[in-house]
Amino acid sequence: MPKRTHRNQVTSVILIHLALPALMIAQQGRTAENVPTSSTAGIHGRISLSKRDDTHPVSMRDPMSGMYTMHGGNGASALIGLSPGAPAKLSERAVVYLESDDLNQGPYAVSTKNPSLDQKNLQFHPQVLPIMVGTRVEFPNRDNLFHNVFSYSQAKEFDLGRYPKDDSRSVTFDRPGVVRVYCDIHSHMSATILVLKHPYFTSPDDSGVYVLSRIPPGKYRVVLWYDRDPAERKNVEVKAGEDLQLDFTN
C-alpha cells in the first residue's frame, strides 16, 4: 500500500517538527491519555433525545427499490431475508463538535487509521461520521448483495460503483463541508460525513454521554449534529484546566 506508507512518513515528519498537542488527539474524539492537561480544557455532557423519532424513514421499506416488484433488480433484496434493521443507535446518529475560526487554523495531523462507513443490513453505519479534512474513509460492503455508494455533494463528489460483500472502496475527503452519502440501488440508505477542519469532535456512547477533551481555552460554539442536520448549538467559553459540563436535551 504505497500511499499509506507515504502517508505514515508525512505524519511522522509532522509529528516530529510540529509537536502540537492536537496531534495527540486521536481521530473521532478518541482522546489520548498522556497529554498534559494543564493548558487545555474539556467539555462533557449527556445528550437526551428521547423524544426524537425512532421511526426515522430509514426504517421504512423503500417503495422505489423492490416494493412494487418481487423479482430481479432491487427487489431481490426483499427476498433474501435482508431488511433494514432497527434504527441506528445514538452513538451512530449523533456527533458533537466545536465551531471556531481559531480552531480552523490548524495545522493538525490526520489519523493514519482510516475510519469506515459500513454498508450493513441495508443501512450505513454510522449514519453520521465526523472526520478531519484529508482523512481517507473506507466503505466496506457487509451485505450479501451489491451497494453503489455515491455522493453529489460539493465537498466531495464520488461514485464507487458496485462491489460485492467484504470488498471495500475508499475516498479521501480533501475539502471541509457536509457530504451526503447515498446508495444508488437502495434509495432509503443515507449517511452524512462531516468533514471538519479540526479534530475537536466526538460521538457519544449509546447512553448519550460524550467527552471532548484537550480543547485550547477559548470561546466556542458547541454543535450537536443529529442524523442529517445540526440539532442544537450552544455558545461556551472554556478556561485552562476547566472541565465544562454541557448537556443537550433537545
Partner: protein, 381 residues
C-alpha cells in the same frame, strides 16, 4: 378523467389505516417532463405525427405498512395521453408461514421478466420501454365477426402489420388483478400468480373478457452477487369473448403461451439487462385455426462514466413467425429492430436529465424508418 374505482377505494383504505403505533404510510413519487420529436412517418412508433411536442407523466406510490407482515401498496399513474390509472393496488402478506412464503392479492405486475422499477422514468436507463413492452403487433385480442362468428381472415391479420393496433407482446407493465405467492430459498426465487388476463392482454381495463385465468410461474437464481438469471412461463386464454367461435370451441380454447428468460448483471460501473420472450397465439382463422409465433428480445446496458453522468444503450426487436395465407407462408407482421441510446446526467440526487435518441426499423410497412429524439427531466420525491 377516468379513474379506476377499485383503485380509489384502495387508496382511501390505505390513507385511513388505523392509527396504531406500528402503522406507517409513506408517499413517494416521480414526475417527468419531456420534449420529443419523432420523424414524420406513418410508423406506429411516431409520436404525435412527428410534430414536436411536450409531454409529462407522473407516478405516485403509496406504501402503507400495517404491521411487520402486512403492507398495502398502491401505485397511481397519469400521463398527458392517458387517464389517471391505478396500475398497482395490492395487499401483501410477507413471511406469514413457516416456509417463509409471501402472498399478495389485488392488482400487481406479473412475475414475468425482470423489468422491475426500470419501468419508471427514474430507473429507466433511457426513455421508452423496450419494444417488446410497447410495440403493438398485428394480432388483436378480439376480431370483427366473420358472419356470426369471431374468426379472422388471414388477410386481416396481414393488413394489420405495421399498423400498431393489436396487442403488445408484453403489455406495458403487465398489471393484472390476481393473487400471487412468492418467496425464496437460498439463491432461488420463485413465484406463481393467477390473474385475469395474459401477459399480452392486460391493458388499462382489468375485467376478465373470457372464462379462463392467466397463469404465470417464475423461477430465478442468483448464483453470485450481481448476476441473476430468471425464467418464466405464462399461459391462458387471451381473446375477448365478444362474439362466439364456430363449432363447439370458445375463446377459452385459444391460448397464449409465453416463455421467457432474463438476465441481470452488474459490476463496478456497468449494469446489463436482457430479456427474450417467445410467445405463441392460437388464432381462429377463417380457413382453420393457426398458431402464430413471435420472438421478442432486448439487451440494454448502462455505464457510469463519471459521477452524475452515465451512457446507456438498448437494442430490442420483434421477429414474427409465419401465417399461412392464400397458400403462402409469410410473416404475420413486419420484423422490427430498435436501437435506443442516450446519456443521463444527475443534476441532483433526485433530478435526472436524459437525452435519448431512438431509431426504429421495420422490414416493410408504411413507416419502415422511424426515429425519436427526447429530452426528459425526471424528479423523484
Amino acid at each position: 378523467m377516468g379513474m379506476n374505482r377499485t383503485g380509489i377505494i384502495a387508496l382511501l383504505c390505505v390513507a385511513t389505516l388505523p392509527p396504531t403505533t406500528s402503522a406507517q404510510v409513506l408517499f413517494t413519487g416521480q414526475t417527468a417532463a419531456q420534449f420529443y420529436k419523432s420523424a414524420v412517418t406513418l410508423s406506429p412508433r411516431a409520436v404525435n405525427s412527428g410534430r414536436p411536442s411536450f409531454g409529462w407523466d407522473t407516478q405516485l406510490f403509496v406504501d402503507g405498512e400495517v404491521s411487520d407482515h402486512v403492507t398495502a401498496l398502491a401505485y397511481l399513474r397519469a400521463t398527458n395521453t392517458d387517464p389517471i390509472t391505478f396500475d398497482y393496488v395490492a395487499i401483501r402478506l410477507t413471511d406469514v408461514t413457516p416456509l417463509g412464503l409471501n402472498f399478495q392479492a389485488g392488482k400487481f405486475d406479473l412475475p414475468f421478466g425482470n423489468l422491475g422499477d426500470r419501468r419508471f422514468p427514474r430507473k429507466n436507463l433511457l426513455y421508452s420501454l423496450p419494444s417488446i413492452y410497447e410495440y403493438r403487433m398485428a394480432l388483436p385480442d378480439h376480431f370483427s365477426p366473420g358472419g356470426d362468428y369471431q374468426v379472422i381472415p388471414e388477410r386481416e391479420i396481414l393488413a394489420g402489420a405495421g399498423q400498431g393496433r393489436g396487442m403488445r407482446l408484453l403489455d406495458l407493465g403487465m398489471y393484472h388483478p390476481g393473487a400471487m405467492v412468492f418467496g425464496s430459498a437460498g439463491i432461488l426465487e420463485y413465484a406463481f400468480a393467477v390473474t385475469t388476463g395474459t401477459v399480452s392482454t392486460s391493458s388499462y381495463t382489468s375485467d376478465n373478457y373470457n372464462s379462463d385465468l392467466g397463469k404465470v410461474a417464475r423461477l430465478a437464481i442468483t448464483p453470485m452477487t450481481g448476476l441473476t438469471i430468471g425464467s418464466a412461463y405464462a399461459w391462458g386464454a387471451y381473446m375477448q369473448a365478444v362474439y362466439p367461435i364456430p363449432g363447439v370451441e370458445n375463446v377459452n380454447t385459444y391460448a397464449e403461451r409465453a416463455a421467457e428468460v432474463d438476465l441481470e448483471f452488474s459490476r463496478g460501473y456497468a449494469v446489463l439487462y436482457g430479456e427474450a420472450v417467445y410467445s405463441t397465439f392460437d388464432v381462429p382463422i377463417t380457413t382453420g385455426d393457426q398458431t402464430l409465433k413471435v420472438l421478442g428480445y432486448y439487451v440494454e446496458g448502462k455505464y457510469t462514466i463519471i459521477p452524475r453522468l452515465y451512457a446507456a444503450l438498448r437494442v430490442s426487436g420483434l421477429t414474427f413467425g409465419d401465417v399461412l395465407a392464400g397458400g403462402i407462408q409469410q410473416p404475420w407482421d413486419y420484423n422490427l429492430v430498435e436501437w435506443e441510446g442516450g446519456i443521463g446526467y444527475f443534476i441532483d440526487r433526485d433530478v435526472l436529465l436524459k437525452a435519448v435518441r431512438r431509431e426504429t426499423r421495420t422490414h416493410g410497412g408504411s413507416g419502415p424508418k422511424d426515429n425519436l429524439t427526447v429530452l426528459q427531466l425526471v424528479v423523484s420525491y
